[in-house]
Every structure is written in C-alpha cells, then in structure tokens.
C-alpha cells in the first residue's frame, strides 16, 4: 500500500511539472518558428547574435530556433504553415519544380560550402587530379553531391571519369583509413577536424570553380505579398547579426554558447572557417548567374526534369538592398 502511495505521489509530481504554465511570451512580440536544417551549432552564430542583441525583438519578432530537417522546413514554408526557413539554394529550385511557391530572400553563405579533401600525399591538388580516383561521398543526393557534380562539370570532367562511392557521413574515417583517396565534405567542418588531428591535406573548394547558390533564407509567395514587412524585418535583423559576427567572431562564439548546449571552445575554428564563406561586399545579396549555374547542374544530374519556367521568380534581392540601420 505504501509503495502504491509513493508511486501515485511520484506520478502526480510528474503530471504537475508537465502541466505547469508555459513561460509567457514577451508582450507585443510575434513568435516565429524558424526551421534551421541542422543541429544547434556555432555556424548559426549570426542568428544567435541577432536574437541575443535584440535585433529580432526590435523588429517585433521572437525567434524560436527549430533544428528540424531542411526538407521539412521547405515543405512547411511552401505550404504556408511557416513564413521563413533556412535552406540550401538548390533545394529552392527543386521545390519550385514541384510547385512549392518558395522564394529565396537572403543569401547567407556567399560561397558554396562543399569541398573535396584528400591527403597531401595523394597528389590530388586540382579537380583534374580526381580522374580515375576513388572518391567518397556521403550519398548520391544532397548538397555534397550537387557540389561534387558542379565541381566536375566546371572542370570538364564527367561522373564516369571518377570512381565515386557513397560512404555515409564517415568521411574523416574513410580518408584516414585510406578507404577513399578523396572525400566530399563541408569545407567548414571536416577539414577543420582533419587539421586538428595533424593530417596534412589538400582542399579543393567547389566555390573556387563554380558559383552555386548556397544556404540562405526563404519565404513563400503568400508572405511576400501580404507580409513584406515581416520578411524585411527578419532579413534586416539577421544581416545585423551577420555583420556583428563578422566583426567580432569571438563575441559571437561566446553568445553561441548560450544557444548550443555543451559547446566548448573546440568548435571556434568551425565558426572562423564558416565566416570566410559569409563575407561579401553586400551581405545577403544573391547573384542571378549563380542560380543559372545551379539549375544547369541539377539538370545535368537529372534532379530536375526541365528548367524552371521562371527561374528569376525563385529569388529576390528586394530585402537586402535596403541600407542597414546605423
């Protein structure tokens, strides 16, 4: 009987804790759920800085960071269930090909973050050196595959010229154990890990050979038509966060620690490597030519059956051309 009473008490405590009132929303702020496409990470420092420094609040927004899959984010924005998300550029083209009315409004990564990495001793220093080599990819889909094909195409190679294998997200292990002669990676992640292990490596950055559209902010046509101020406010605040992060990465990293559970100083180099991909004369601006190139690569890969009827409708620079407040 005693046991039963204790069990009931414990159960009641759990229920009461679970049912406690949710924290009240700050008065007047509109809560926005933002699909991020990846786990909490210092790579998202510009967004954390914008939140911490009150740039979003100044625009009347409170951002809830949602670390769900990229494809889910784009589908939710396409269905007008959410107004904004962070996604990769090639996903926007593929989504529009399936009638998802999404529009890219701010280019966050100015350089496509994919690279091919090899051991220095392998002699793979240029894209042409990949011919006949065994290259490991996370899979034959996703940004890594798009970047890899873009790199080959830009250098007159075809997929048949290279022996590509899918190795999952085990690129570091595969390279170090010589299962792959080169691996396709995110330039701001695995090369940093390999360098930390003292491995001498060659890095072939996709962005040095072809300009593909990388990660940025999307909205949908309905939000663009009916709530342009929401998009403008969000982009403006994010650009301020981005600008501050570029100016003071150390401070941005310290702020990131409040948003990334258990983050120690070990990933500061990842932020520094990421920053190099974000720099631009005009932050957030996207280039029409890069959209053409990205579409051409997708068509070449067979990921797109036909060119979009209006590729220019997939993106706009309307919200980044506004001067930032001083």
């Amino acid at each position: 009987m005693k046991k039963l009473i204790w069990l009931l008490l414990a159960f009641s405590v759990i229920v009461l804790v679970g049912c406690r009132e949710a924290e009240p929303e700050p008065v007047g702020l509109r809560q926005i759920r933002l699909p991020m496409g990846y786990i909490a990470d210092p790579q998202y420092a510009p967004f954390y800085v914008a939140a911490k420094k009150g740039y979003y609040a100044a625009e009347g927004l409170e951002i809830e960071f949602d670390y769900s899959f990229e494809t889910d984010g784009i589908a939710l924005v396409g269905a007008n269930e959410l107004p904004l998300a962070i996604v990769s550029g090639e996903q926007v083209i593929m989504a529009r090909a399936q009638d998802l009315p999404v529009v890219y409004v701010m280019e966050w990564f100015q350089k496509y973050p994919i690279a091919v990495v090899s051991k220095a001793a392998s002699g793979i220093a240029r894209p042409q050196d990949l011919a006949g080599r065994n290259v490991g990819l996370p899979g034959f889909w996703g940004a890594s595959y798009v970047g890899y094909v873009g790199l080959l195409t830009a250098n007159g190679l075809t997929q048949d010229d290279v022996r590509a294998n899918d190795i999952g997200f085990n690129q570091v292990e595969s390279l170090l154990s010589d299962q792959s002669e080169a691996v396709v990676v995110y330039i701001n992640n695995e090369p940093v890990q390999l360098a930390a292990q003292g491995e001498a490596i060659n890095v072939i950055a996709v962005a040095d050979y072809i300009d593909l559209v990388a990660n940025g902010i999307i909205t949908n046509e309905d939000t663009l038509a009916n709530e342009p101020d929401l998009v403008q406010g969000f982009v403006r605040a994010t650009l301020l966060g981005l600008s501050d992060t570029l100016a003071d990465p150390e401070a941005a990293y310290q702020i990131s620690k409040q948003y990334v559970e258990g983050l120690d100083d070990g990933r500061f180099d990842v932020l520094l490597a990421s920053i190099e991909l974000w720099r631009a004369d005009t932050l957030g601006l996207t280039d029409a030519a890069s959209w053409q190139q990205t579409q051409a690569v997708l068509l070449d890969m067979g990921f797109l059956d036909a060119p979009l009827p209006d590729l220019n409708a997939a993106f706009t620079n309307e919200f980044v051309s506004q001067p930032l407040p001083q």
């Binding site: 396409g78 269905a79 090909a97 998802l100 889909w141 899918d166």
Partner: protein
C-alpha cells in the same frame, strides 16, 4: 451488408481498396491540396507508371527484398535456439533476459550508423538491422509457445520414456508452432521496416530507402507514395507467404 458478407474474399478486398482510393481522391479534391502536400491517386499512379517503365522501382525493390529475406531468416533462426534456452532454463532466463529487454529500449536508428563502421559491409549491416528488428518479437513468441505446452503432455511423454530430443520433436515444437508462426508473421512485416531503417541511415545508394530519401529531397511526394505502397505490398506478400506456410504446416490442426 448481407450482400457484402456473401461475396468472395477477394471481391470484398477489392471493394474496400476501391473505396479507399475514392475517399483519398475525394479528400484531395475537396481539400484542394497541392501535389507536394497530398498527391491524388491519379498522380501516384502516373508516377508509378514512370518508375515501373524505367525499371527503377523493380531494381530498388529487389535490393530491399534481398536485405529483408536474410534479415528475417537470421532474426528467426537466432531467436529459435535462444528462445528454447530461455523457455527451458530459469537460470538462463535470469542471466540473459534483463539484457534482452533492456536492448529493446535502444532505438535502432541510433545504432544503425555504427553498425556500418563495426561490420564494414553496408549490405550485411542493413541485413543485421532487419534481423535485430525481427529478433525480439519472434523470441517472445517462441518462449510463449514453448511454455504453452500442457504439463500433462510432458507427463505422458515421460511415462513413454521419451528422450529430450523426442520430446522436442514430437511435442514441444509442434505444440509451440502456431504461436511461433504468429511471431514470424509479425517479424515478416517488421523486417521491412528494419531493412528500410538500414537504408535510411547507411550509405549505399540503392534500395527503396534510398529512393525514398531522394524523393523527399526532390519534393516528389507522389514518388514517396509509390514507394510506401510498394513497401506495403512487400510486407503483405511476406505476411501472406508465412500464412501460407502456416496453413500447410498446421494442416493437422484442422
């Protein structure tokens, strides 16, 4: 209602399937859902025709089936002796059961990527994921089946001076078979999920799991539905196959 009851089984199933399709089509029409949210049965049928014609569906299905069948068999044949041991030996049960039960709390999706590194064979790591998913429900049924043998029948076998081997062959196995086969039916459907989980998280750009990931990446929801229907068809076929075996093996019951 009486008319429905009087119809042959296959016709009842066909009618229910057609009603499902009609309801689905109606839902899409009334809700005016775009294809990327909910494709109509017509969209799905058109996409099905495309992937059947270009051979993709068959190629990826065969790869998935080649992982399901060994996974199911390995899961079953490992569970069989272990189930016998646990059913017959209280000491073995005390020693092993806690670990077996605790292992069920581990999400397979968390260890599946590690299996690739440990085994170093993508194919066998996928098979192993399927086997792991199948193993536990089959094991539980084997134990339940062996324990369901009436004690009087044991007494009879002992009175007839039957050896342990004879007791197993003539009494325990036939008596437990209906429950074991029921477990195998559950395992057959679970093995499909197991193989798919393996394909989701492990590299090797082949199989219905890979096709599903690619379809999601390209926002081809109609293709996602084609794959889901194919997986359902595979699971139903396996279930039917075990049911057929069951009917033949347990003919003595009727």
């Amino acid at each position: 209602m009486r008319l429905l009851r009087s119809l042959p089984n296959w016709l009842t199933i066909l009618i229910s399937f057609l009603m499902l399709l009609a309801g689905w089509h109606l839902l899409v029409m009334i809700g005016e859902y775009p294809s990327f949210i909910l494709p109509s049965p017509v969209n799905v049928a058109q996409q099905m025709a495309v992937v059947v014609a270009d051979g993709r569906l068959l190629r990826h299905s065969l790869i998935t089936i080649s992982e399901i069948i060994p996974g199911l068999l390995i899961g079953f044949f490992v569970a069989l002796p272990l189930g016998y041991l646990l059913a017959k030996s209280p000491l073995a049960e005390r020693l092993i059961s806690p670990y077996l039960i605790a292992s069920q709390a581990i999400p397979i999706i968390a260890i599946a990527p590690l299996l690739t590194i440990w085994i170093a064979s993508t194919y066998w790591s996928r098979v192993l994921v399927a086997a792991l998913v199948v193993f536990f429900p089959v094991l539980i049924n084997i134990i339940a089946g062996l324990r369901s043998v009436p004690p009087e029948l044991y007494e009879l076998m002992h009175a007839l001076k039957a050896t342990p081997g004879q007791i197993f062959r003539k009494l325990e196995f036939p008596a437990a078979l209906p429950i074991i086969l029921a477990g195998l039916k559950v395992g057959a459907t679970l093995s499909v999920i197991g193989a798919l989980v393996g394909e989701f998280v492990q590299p090797k750009s082949q199989g219905l799991g890979f096709l599903l990931v690619t379809a999601r990446y390209q926002f081809k929801t109609d293709l996602v539905f084609v794959i889901l229907l194919t997986l359902a068809a595979i699971a139903l076929s396996l279930y039917g196959l075990v049911a057929l075996v069951e009917r033949r093996v347990l003919r003595w019951q009727t």
